[in-house]
Amino acid sequence: MVKKTVRCPNCGKTTEIFGQPGEIKKVVCSSCFTEGKVTFEKTTYDSNAAIEVSALRKEYGELVAVNDISFKVKIGEVFAFLGPNGAGKTTTVEMIENIRQPTRGNIRILGKSIKTSFDDVKERIGILPQEFHSFERLTVRETLFYFSSLYKTNADIDGIINAMDLKDEENKLYKDLSGGLKQRVGVAISLVNNPEIVFLDEPSTGLDPKARREVWEVIASLRKKGKTVFLTTHYMEEAEFLADHIAIIHKGKIIAEGSLDELINKYGEGSVLRIKDCKSKEVINILQRSGFEVKKEKNGDIAVKIDYKERIIEVLSILKHECVEYGTIDIRRSNLEEIFLKLTGAKLSEADS
């Protein structure tokens, strides 16, 4: 059932009317009795999309925190929503989770509009809020049991404990766990209803590198189980390691979107092979004649852009054939940090602070 508010063209009185998508309903103004028809548009949605966001906007007075953004998250993928602190990531994810009210825009989760059907959606999603801390004096098992009691489905607590590698900690109090284990429990809590979509808001923030890596392994295991993961992060390595699809948000706008390869090819330099301490002055011309994009850098290194991996062997063959003497060779791929720098003029880590 969809609600529509219509204004009488004759007297201006507004009336609320309910109908099904695709239905045309007759409406009579209760004030001037003018008759008219209201069409409830058929809503179409992508059946492959776990989440669809269109023209989403959030304003706080004069400040536009999220500026008319649109994107889709496919079923079964890890979607990384990457951006510095204050870019609008958490505001966006909290609007999708129905925690915050959007100024305008539409959000569909598993084909259902959250404006009208969020109660149905709740049973099918699991959420780890940012900086989440559970009840300190409950054990891991009790915590999972507590949150599972909210759902209609009976959770397989033992299965979740094993899957999250929490067997040794199941009887420890939450307060006695390390930061990494707490986050792992947080992820485990988000799985108690066996959700189709898992939202993880900055799951590794504040963790040491080892604990962060453990959380990444857990997230990677969710993808293997076929879950859709919506991951917000300000760590580019996290997005690079985990994501099938990445959207970069900056100052409330999505500035780039695609798979890692797509982003690197579109916005980065691709892969670059660097020849260090090269003795030959002719090598640049030789490589250029073979169709390579080559340039000499300030430190004397010769940088050769590699479009696809077979061309690495081609470069090495040319160097061998021409008997070029050189020190070392280094092959480097563009990363998200460079893409962010190129798109915004600032480093992701600097924009963060």
Binding site: I99, R100, Q101, K122, P129, R137, F147, Y151, L173
Partner: protein, 373 residues
């Protein structure tokens, strides 16, 4: 209604509470400690003697007079260090000058009226009891002992309890001691603090920890959440009330009247102060600041609402303030229900407690938001 969740929340809430030794201490042992300390201070009459100034104005006073006999009984009680002053001394001035807080004046017609009593049994005589309202240490105790001695004197002299009485304005009845007054106040105070701080914790710490955000995305309604938490808070209220009463009975030999109003007041007080905590948590969002705000409201209320000493001992303007404090109605309601068994006053105070509970709780629920702006 998700009863599975409500049951789990209550069960795990109690388990979690029992694991926090600090919280258990503040909820149960601290009030017991206070009762023991205050009870010992105010009720240790057997080992202590009190200064009592006695002025005999009786015109017929001589060695065989009733007034002289009464003074002898006072002296022989072993409780009082009796200091007699002559008829011309101003009692008020003397007490101030000597820094003594209690005095007893025997009226001019004491013997005459007692003799008259044997002819006309409608005659009655009142002694005047002088006291310093600021000295709460001795006030109630001395008054109670004099009343006890008078009972005995009346019995011996006239076989009646009604001939010689005390003329003063203290509210404390003759048969009650300070500890009777104190225990209901302690119950009110304990429920107030655990409800206010418990509610503040749920509304600030849980918000900071993301628990409220998480619940918002889970299939639980605000009504189910509040109901489950209130069941837990009621458990806390009754457990602490029970323990305080148990100590009162076992240590101080108190007798309580347990009636429906006692339960109504305990339940309504729990709702009332949970609501107050919600209101505080709504406006002061930082956990530490909210705790301080809770203290700023509950601490003065504890002293001003007649928890530890009768309102009559306070200056009039403070008594007027007490009349608007919800804890005052809780304390007085509990005293009248549990101790004095005064139905009329119990009804009066209970009705105020119910109104406060409804208003505070509804405003608290209305103001508490899960959803962010």
């Amino acid at each position: 209604m998700n009863f599975k969740f409500i049951k789990t929340d209550l069960k795990l809430g109690i388990r979690s509470w029992l694991r926090s030794k600090g919280t258990v201490f503040w909820t149960i042992l601290f009030p017991i400690l206070l009762i023991m300390i205050f009870g010992a201070i105010f009720s240790g009459v057997d080992e202590v003697s009190y200064d009592l100034v006695v002025q005999n104005l009786d015109e017929d006073a001589d060695e065989d007079s009733f007034s002289a006999s009464f003074i002898t009984i006072l002296k022989e009680s072993g409780v009082f260090n009796v200091k007699e002053i002559n008829k011309n001394t101003d009692m008020d001035e003397y007490l101030k000058d000597e820094d003594i807080s209690t005095g007893l004046q025997i009226p001019e017609d004491f013997d005459e009226k007692l003799e008259l009593y044997f002819v006309d049994q409608n005659v009655s005589i009142n002694l005047t009891y002088f006291y310093d309202p600021t000295d709460s240490n001795t006030l109630g105790v001395v008054r109670s002992i004099i009343a006890g001695i008078l009972d005995e004197f009346n019995n011996q002299m006239t076989q009646s309890k009604n001939v010689v009485g005390i003329d003063d304005k203290s509210i404390l009845g003759q048969e009650f001691e300070f500890i009777d007054f104190f225990v209901p106040g302690m119950i009110g105070f304990t429920i107030m603090t655990s409800m206010v701080y418990g509610s503040i914790e749920r509304n600030t710490k849980y918000r900071k920890d993301g628990i409220l955000r998480k619940l918002l995305t889970m299939p639980v309604t605000r009504a189910e959440w509040i109901l489950s938490k209130m069941l837990f808070m009621l458990f806390l209220s009754f457990i602490s009330t029970f323990v305080i009463m148990l100590v009162g009975v076992l240590v101080w030999g108190l007798n309580f009247h347990i009636n429906i109003f006692f339960f109504i007041i305990v339940i309504c007080t729990s709702f009332m102060f949970s609501g107050l905590g919600m209101i505080i948590g709504r406006f002061v969002k930082e956990e530490e600041t909210a705790d301080m705000a809770g203290g700023a409201i509950t601490f003065p209320m504890m002293f001003l609402a007649g928890t530890f000493f009768p309102l009559e001992q306070m200056p009039e303007f403070l008594q007027a303030i007490a009349q608007v404090l919800p804890l005052y109605y809780v304390n007085e309601g509990l005293r009248n229900a549990m101790i004095y068994a005064n139905l009329e006053k119990t009804l009066y105070f209970t009705s105020f407690v119910i109104v406060f509970a409804v208003v505070f709780f509804l405003v608290g629920v209305f103001l508490t938001k899960w959803k962010e702006d």
